[in-house]
Amino acid sequence: MANLKEVRVRIKSVSSTQQITKAMKLVSATKLRRAQTAIMQMRPYAQKLQGIMQNVGDNIDSPELKSYFSQRKVQKVLLVIITSDRGLCGGFNANVGKMGRTLITEKYKDIYDAGKLDMMFIGKKGQEFFNKYKNIKQITDFRDLFQNLNSDGAFAAAEWILQSFANKEYDVVEILYNGFKNAATQILTNEQMLPVVKTKSAGATTSKNDYIFEPDKTEILEDLIPRSLKTQLYKACLESFASEHGARMISMDKATENAGDLINELKLQYNQARQASITKELSEIVGGAAAMAS
């Protein structure tokens, strides 16, 4: 039978752990709500941007624009790994890491072996995951984006990617992150950022509206296309951020539940031990009294 004091100490420690997990759950729930609002507020912007792009059409003439679509021979690859800064959120970060590892060992094996695969980390955890891969050049300039997540930071990171791609430092850029479906579900996502994958616009939907283009279509596209790419990265960051808090909320909820179960079990043990010691004491007294009487 377990020692009374030992059990009491364990109950105490488990219940203080439970308090922490409960608090973390509540904090994540609040942060999740804020992250969701940020996604919501970004959505009209993205939609309008898409709308304008459709209206402008996609006849691309200028060489600068063509470079965004150019399918070069893949020799150098950049993977953008978006994870969280902190752990305790279930398989959130490990899933992205695993996906990255699959890409290294399968799709881009040759490039990785040649040391031509770079990774950009947004969020600290991703870097920890790939530290042991010495062949990978780590780009950590934008790692701490999540400490103050706003469009400026994400746009700066995207700008860097666009520049490097334009300078032919990379031939393919892919983004790996947890997409947000709802608080409990993350969708592991692997998006190709560059070169831009042309989505087939349904037929020739040149709008009937006779737009004035100021100064001209090409210049407008030169603003629109990078802008939509930056928005794409920002959206990925926002979704990952919301997913992180969703994942943490769920895992902390589970942890709180488990701690509760454990406490119940320990309480049962404690009461049994207490009862046993009382019974033992009683029988000792009774035995002693009987010995005196006889």
Binding site: P44, Y45, I52, V56, S151, D210, F213, E214, P215
Partner: protein, 76 residues
Amino acid sequence: MTLEILTPDKSLFNGEVESVLLPGSSGTFEILNNHAPIVARLKAGTLKVRSKEGNQNFEIKGGIVEMLDNKIVVLA
């Protein structure tokens, strides 16, 4: 006509206006009611909104404006 000023972080303005003065990439221009459909590139500058409630200024770092059917959308 209605004006919407959107940034990736939030919506800055949404409402009825009388005129908007915009820093176009090839010169400042103004959009009044019933302007022809237009898509224009904006450079960094001040965006001046005139409405019945008074005037409002917004600083932008460049962007795109689209006007269609008396609806203006500014993506900054």
